[in-house]
Point group: D2
Chain length 260, copies 4
């Protein structure tokens, strides 16, 4: 009994290969996480365990999919950058998108108990995702800047908002107080009313998280005279840097290398 008669239905699958020599960015975003974080009683404005869980998933993503050269995460979203010349699944958009969002979702639930040992998952959280092509490196850098600026704006607002709410204001009062305020005003408010120096808050909250491969020196074993024998290898690393200015990129020139 051959199946060939019906195989014509495969012809309806569109060719969705992404254009060559474009950087590929996959952004994953929590779906209905406003409600999910309320149900699971996340710390506000930032839940360190939840961010650590997101970062742990991102590290596993880079181990599983070596074509990812950089990842940037903030709140319940993560962006993964694939190198310009990647041939991962022949650059098929649906394959890349579905594998990334599926594996990330799977990891999130699989690792949950490691980060929330005393808080069972009530409902399975899930994510949406999208794939975007960027034709030049400088636009990928602008993309990352866009996300980190967003991280800053949101975090500063949320920090103020939750301090006000925790100090007794209603949600509406807090929103009213913050309406139209600038960066400087918010820093002032935090310092004057709550003695908080925004710049001293943990970098993971203010800057988000960068995941990348870095050289690390490891002691393999000791030689006969007891001196350590070392080797350098690439290890997936998490840091919380400014990725808007050139400093980080100058120090890590190999991460986003343009083909010449």
């Amino acid at each position: 009994m051959a199946n060939s008669k019906y195989e014509y239905v495969k012809k309806f699958e569109a060719d969705d290969k992404l254009p060559p020599y474009n950087w590929i960015v996959v952004r994953i975003d929590g779906c209905h996480f406003h409600r999910f974080t309320a149900d699971q009683e996340f710390e506000k404005p930032n839940d360190q365990n939840a961010l650590d869980l997101m970062n742990s998933c991102a590290v596993s993503m880079m181990d599983q999919f070596p074509d990812i050269v950089f990842a940037y995460g903030v709140s319940d979203e993560y962006s993964f950058i694939l190198k310009e010349t990647t041939q991962f699944y022949q650059r098929r958009s649906s394959k890349i998108l579905s594998l990334f969002v599926s594996y990330f979702s799977a990891l999130y639930i699989f690792k949950w108990k490691d980060f929330f040992p005393h808080k069972a998952l009530e409902l399975p959280p899930f994510f949406d995702g999208r794939v975007v092509c960027y034709p030049k490196l400088r636009i990928v850098r602008d993309y990352l800047t866009w996300r980190q600026v967003d991280c800053h704006i949101n975090n500063q607002y949320n920090t103020c908002f939750w301090m006000l709410v925790k100090s007794g204001k209603s949600v509406k009062e807090a929103q009213e107080l913050l309406k139209g305020t600038q960066t400087k005003d918010k820093n002032e408010l935090l310092f004057q009313q709550f003695g908080i120096n925004y710049a001293k808050l943990p970098a993971i909250f203010r800057k988000g998280s960068c995941v990348y491969k870095d050289k690390v020196e490891e002691t393999v074993k000791l030689d006969d005279t007891g001196n350590p024998i070392k080797r350098v290898r690439m290890k997936v690393t998490v840091g919380h840097f400014d990725i808007i200015g050139p400093k980080f990129w100058n120090e890590h020139p190999n991460i986003l290398e343009e083909e010449s």
Copy 2:
């Protein structure tokens, strides 16, 4: 600090709306499940618990995404059919694909312990997915036939293969014995050597699983005289039917209704 300067990077997101008045099929497929099922020691050729888990995920999918009108599953794959006129996320392909594959993956791990209470998940399984548009109902029917014929072909082969292997043949010997055999030969082999009537094997193995909404009559409460007060409601139902012939579809004319 406005973010508008960098928002131009959003313009690189392609419009991926699926064409109107096409049926949408999302097929999800286990990734590296050959290895996963070996690691987790699934029963061969079919693991009833694993199939029940898949079906339970599909039922939850239909509860979560009401635009799914029918789902068909076999082995580690599931196809979800959205009605022709669905406006779910404005028919955006990436949204639909990522949400479906993410939620299915999340459910699979979340529900794992209910179906395998004594077998911990060692690594997080994940899925890939694709979205296909079909312009006519008769082609959707051909799509489903294609999948059910495939189910039959694979299941019959696997049933023979694993019976031979369990009876002492090597993998290679089993493959050699089955090379070039027809449906009739395989049925003969199963009956002669192992006393198995293939047609009597559980329908879930031979036919796969259909998930759809069906009318069910429920007793709401009893009235004053002790007679049941009933109501009819739509309930997501799992069955194992032939969906190649017209019988099932004639009995359930509302599932795949064509717009007129």
Copy 3:
């Protein structure tokens, strides 16, 4: 000297095959024809020679590209319908679009002198085009209805407008007078002021032009007794019918046949 080193640039050409089992409509539209028709002093509201030229081009299109099953033209636009199952250039959108719009443009200029023997072409007119897929026959019918309703609305308005202008009104006065009028009002105006019965105007103006293949009986030669030997062949034919109602389609059931 091999060229293979640079052939990688061909990989940037996207696969633009149109989805199978969809009707393909190519619509061609005059570009800047408002100015072109003024420069070339076309009769207003309708120039019979110009419409005959458009129709002659459409007939040649159907001779050149036999996969066109029907064409509908009005004013400076023409729609060409390819059958659902056409494999013309493997359904590649750019090939179909570019060949159609190029050949139509070429024909228009090539045939110009046959329809305007005393009026030289001052500048080369040209056209834009688009390709649209329709998944069902009934939507193709709605597409054609859309175009013929548009023909009616525009022609009725233009007939009134130009009668008013020719009778001495300014452009602005004519526009003011017609603002907000309904079909009935416009028919009344034509009849009362100009003695024109709109329904009696030439069908080509009111209904546009249909181009299709029809059976025609031809005398091949006379037999020995002087009686004509006839044969039936398909010939590209132009007519001006109502294509909104079922009559024309019932009389020509083979033109838009749905695959079963």
Copy 4:
């Protein structure tokens, strides 16, 4: 009589905007020109008038569509390059493709009599076209190199082939003689048998044609003392240069400028 009920058919038109910050190349190619050039008895291997006609069309294209920054033509094909940041018709692929191929075809027939005053056009020639996006300038340069290398390979072959045929060889003999020959062999053949120094043949045959905007100094009028008053303006210019090496591009740095 409103048309809104049927306007839903417009929703089937796909969004075909080309991705931002990509160079756009439109290549137009003669359709069935093998036969057309035979019917019209073009000179072989190159017809100067036919090439001049192609170039004249390309010049008119650049006047009509100022977003074209460079065009390269060889034989019956022409490539038009639009700047990276063009917003011409919102970068809609079908609009750009159809307008370009239509206007080029229209020009070709409209201008025909200027270049072939004694040879009437027997059938209307036409072209196909395609649109390709290139994400970086260096790949656009590779594209142009690909076309110019192709020009060289074809022209050298054709020059040999037609000299052999004109000298009495059959088509088959000429093909046999040229099979497997290298550049050097072909130059040798031309020189030894026909006294032709390939490098001295007209550059338009060997290099194709470049069309671009260049600064030209013009005398506007004479001043009171009889001295010329000059001004510099950009004028569309045709040349036959090597565009593989850096010389031409270094001398014309503004033609293909990359956005920074």
